[in-house]
Each structure stands twice: as structure tokens, then as C-alpha cells.
């Protein structure tokens, strides 16, 4: 209670002081003409000084800055556009070169394939011919061998028969008879085999 009372008393005191202060200096200092000439003078001085500085030094610089920036950005944009076009052109050229190279490669592969096939065929032909020749040669050899071998076999048979006859009968058999007998029996054997 006591503290509350002191607070209210203090508040009242402050308000009183505030009001008395307000009353003492009532009115608007703006309407006091004492310092009007001084204010006008310093306003004119400072404003004119500011105007001259801004007009002569600052605005040209800011204008130049802004315009320079604008022109640089415009130039950069134009450059970028140009580079873009060049890039597109280069890419097209690159694709064309790649396509050409692919076509060339295909052509070369086809050509080589044909050449190889041709060569292969030629070699095959040659080889076949050689084989045929060899086969024929071997066949001939076999034939010859067959012919000569029967003759030799007949001769051996004749000799064997002759010597057998010599041992069994003790006489020599006529050559021509012997030959005829051996040949006829050889023929029979051959026919049987066939």
C-alpha cells in the first residue's frame, strides 16, 4: 500500500513537471523569425553547393557507369549469341564429318570384303585345281600300279607253279601253257572279287 502510494505520488509529480515544462515553452519555435535569415542563408548555401556537386561531378559519373554497364552487357550478349551460332555450326560440321567418315569406313569395309572374297575364291579354285590334278595323278599311279602289279603277281605265280611242278613232276612246264593257266585263274579270281 505504502509503495503504491509513493508510486502514484511520483507519477503525479512527473506529470506536473511535464505540464509545467510544456507551459513554459509553449508555442512553435518555427514561427520565431529570429533565425529565419540564418536558415535561409545556410539553406541556399548548402543546397546550391549540393546542386553544383551533383550536377557537375556525380550525375555524369553515375550516368556513365550505368551506360557503360548497359553497353558491356549488350556486347557480351551479342558475343554470346555469336558464339552460340558458331557452336551450332561447328556441331553441324562435326556431325557431317562423322557421317562422312562412317560412310567412308563402310565403303572401305565393303570393298575389302569383296576383294577378300575374290581372292579367296581364286585361291580356292587354284587349290581345287591342284587337288584335282593330284587326284588324277594318284589315280593314274594307282591304275598303273594295278596293271603292273597283276603282271608281277602272274609272273610270281608262274615261277611258283614252275618250281612246284619241277619238284612234284620233275619236268619243266611249257612257258606259254603256264602263262595261259595262270592268267585264266587270275581272271577267275578277279571276277569272283568283282
Amino acid at each position: 500500500m505504502k509503495y503504491n502510494f509513493i508510486f502514484i505520488k511520483g507519477l503525479l509529480l512527473v506529470c506536473l513537471q511535464y505540464n509545467s515544462g510544456f507551459a513554459a515553452e509553449a508555442g512553435m519555435p518555427q514561427l520565431n523569425p529570429e533565425f529565419w535569415p540564418a536558415q535561409i542563408f545556410w539553406l541556399v548555401v548548402s543546397f546550391v553547393f549540393l546542386y553544383l556537386c551533383i550536377w557537375k561531378f556525380i550525375l555524369p559519373k553515375i550516368t556513365k557507369n550505368i551506360e557503360d554497364r548497359k553497353s558491356i552487357i549488350m556486347r557480351d550478349l551479342q558475343d554470346a549469341e555469336k558464339f552460340k551460332e558458331e557452336t551450332t555450326k561447328k556441331i553441324q560440321e562435326y556431325n557431317r564429318v562423322i557421317d562422312d567418315a562412317k560412310n567412308d569406313a563402310k565403303k572401305i569395309i565393303l570393298e575389302e570384303k569383296n576383294n577378300l572374297e575374290k581372292e579367296l575364291n581364286l585361291k580356292k579354285q587354284k587349290f581345287d585345281d591342284e587337288i584335282d590334278k593330284e587326284i588324277k595323278k594318284v589315280e593314274n599311279e594307282i591304275k598303273n600300279f594295278q596293271l603292273t602289279s597283276t603282271e608281277k603277281v602272274n609272273e610270281i605265280a608262274r615261277e611258283v607253279v614252275n618250281s612246284l611242278m619241277m619238284k612234284i613232276v620233275g619236268t619243266e612246264v611249257n612257258e606259254s601253257n603256264l602263262k595261259a593257266v595262270v592268267e585264266s585263274s587270275a581272271k577267275k579270281i578277279n571276277q569272283k572279287q568283282i
Partner: protein, 244 residues
């Protein structure tokens, strides 16, 4: 008396009394803050203008933003003919904006809260625009007071109304800025006083108001600078492109 809300507007002499032909032009706190504002503006703009970088720094962006903002404003309201007046409108906007904004700092003096300052600016604009109008259009500038498409019998009244409205331009222009600044700062001071007088228990409410009012006053500071500059552009437009 710190509690007097009008005390902040008091102008007092700093240094010796200077007399020029019997006129007291002593350096005052108002003069000091005018110069502080001028050097702040110049410092801000110079630091932004000295560098030439493709990617601008933060301060450069800010200054270029202000530049394009004013350029756009003058171009949209007064057209391309007003281009030679761009430095003036830019200076005016920056000066009023900085005076308003610096005034928002504690213990700072608000130059634009004095009717004499705003009135000198407004009357200079008014006289300049009127001279410009007569130079551009000769006596044809008087057509400004005769709106087209008005019935003849209404003309005497309309012309009088137009002349009065034209002559009241400097008053409305200056009083608008001065009243806004003074009212805002007085209100801030009054609420600040309430915070002190109500103490730690009841002071929170006016303190909240003070915070909100400070935000509002910053907005008003910008808005009034903008309004001052755009009205100048509109007056310039009347003088350059006579529409009536």
C-alpha cells in the same frame, strides 16, 4: 525541458554571431544539420560513383536505384523535355529525403520541420517554374488559368479559382512537408514523454506506440520527399507542356 515536445524544434546559435549587412546569418544547429545532410549525400553518392564495376556494390546499387527512381519519376510526369531539370529534381529529392531521414535519428535536428526552410524551397520552385513557363510559352502561359471545355459564363469564376490554386502552390507544397515532419516528431516526443512519466509499469504501452510510430515516420519521411519531388515534376510539366 526535455519533456516539451516542441523543444526539439528550437533553433540556436552555434559559434559567434555573424552579421551580413545587418542581417543575422549566424551558424545554427539548423545550418549544421543542413551541411551534415549535404556531406552525407555527397559521401553516399561519391562512394557509389567512384567505382566502375560491372557488378555493382551494395551502395552502388542503392545510388543507381535512387538515380533510376528519380529519372523514371521525372520522365513519367514531365516527359523528355524535363531532362535538363533532372539534376535539380534529383538534388531536391535527395536533400529532402536526407533531411527527413536524418531527423529520425535521436538528438538529430529535422531541417524540414521548419516552415521557413520548406517555404524557401517551395517558393524557389514556384518562381522558377513560373519564369520557365513564361520563357517557354510567353503570354501563352496564362492559358494555364483557362481550362479548355469550360462554359464561357463559368470562366470568370474558374479563372479566379485557377489563379488562387496556382498561387497557393508554394504554400501547399511547403506546409505539407513542414506539417508532416513537425507533427510526426511532436507525436514521437509526446509518446516518448509518456513512457518516462508512466514509468516501468505503465510505460510499455506508449513505448509500443513509439516503436510503431517510428516505423510510420520513416515511411512518411520517404513519402514526403517523394511527394515534394513529384509535385515539382508536375509543376515543371505544366510549365514545359502547356496542357490547358
Amino acid at each position: 525541458m526535455a519533456a516539451n515536445p516542441m523543444h526539439q524544434f528550437t533553433v540556436y546559435r552555434i559559434g559567434p554571431e555573424i552579421n551580413l549587412g545587418g542581417v543575422d546569418i549566424s551558424f545554427t544547429n539548423a545550418g549544421l544539420f543542413m551541411l551534415i545532410n549535404v556531406f552525407l549525400i555527397l559521401g553516399f553518392l561519391f562512394s557509389a560513383a567512384k567505382k566502375k564495376s560491372i557488378v555493382p556494390s551494395k551502395i552502388q546499387i542503392l545510388s543507381e536505384l535512387t538515380y533510376t527512381f528519380v529519372a523514371k519519376m521525372i520522365n513519367e510526369t514531365a516527359g523528355s523535355k524535363a531532362k535538363p531539370f533532372f539534376p535539380f529534381v534529383f538534388t531536391l529529392f535527395m536533400f529532402v529525403l536526407f533531411c527527413n531521414m536524418v531527423g529520425m535519428l535521436p538528438y538529430a535536428f529535422t531541417v524540414t520541420s521548419h516552415i521557413i526552410v520548406t517555404f524557401v524551397l517551395a517558393i524557389a520552385i514556384f518562381i522558377g517554374v513560373t519564369i520557365l513557363g513564361f520563357v517557354k510559352h510567353g503570354m501563352g502561359y496564362l492559358k494555364l488559368f483557362v481550362p479548355s471545355g469550360v462554359p464561357v459564363f463559368l470562366l470568370p469564376i474558374i479563372i479566379v479559382i485557377e489563379i488562387i490554386s496556382y498561387l497557393s502552390r508554394p504554400v501547399s507544397l511547403s506546409v505539407r512537408l513542414f506539417a508532416n515532419m513537425m507533427a510526426g516528431h511532436t507525436m514521437l516526443k509526446v509518446f516518448g514523454g509518456f513512457v518516462i512519466s508512466l514509468g516501468i509499469i505503465g510505460g510499455w504501452l506508449p513505448l509500443t506506440f513509439s516503436v510503431a510510430l517510428t516505423g510510420l515516420e520513416i515511411l512518411v519521411a520517404f513519402l514526403q520527399a517523394y511527394v515534394f519531388a513529384i509535385l515539382t515534376c508536375i509543376y515543371l510539366n505544366d510549365a514545359l507542356n502547356l496542357h490547358h
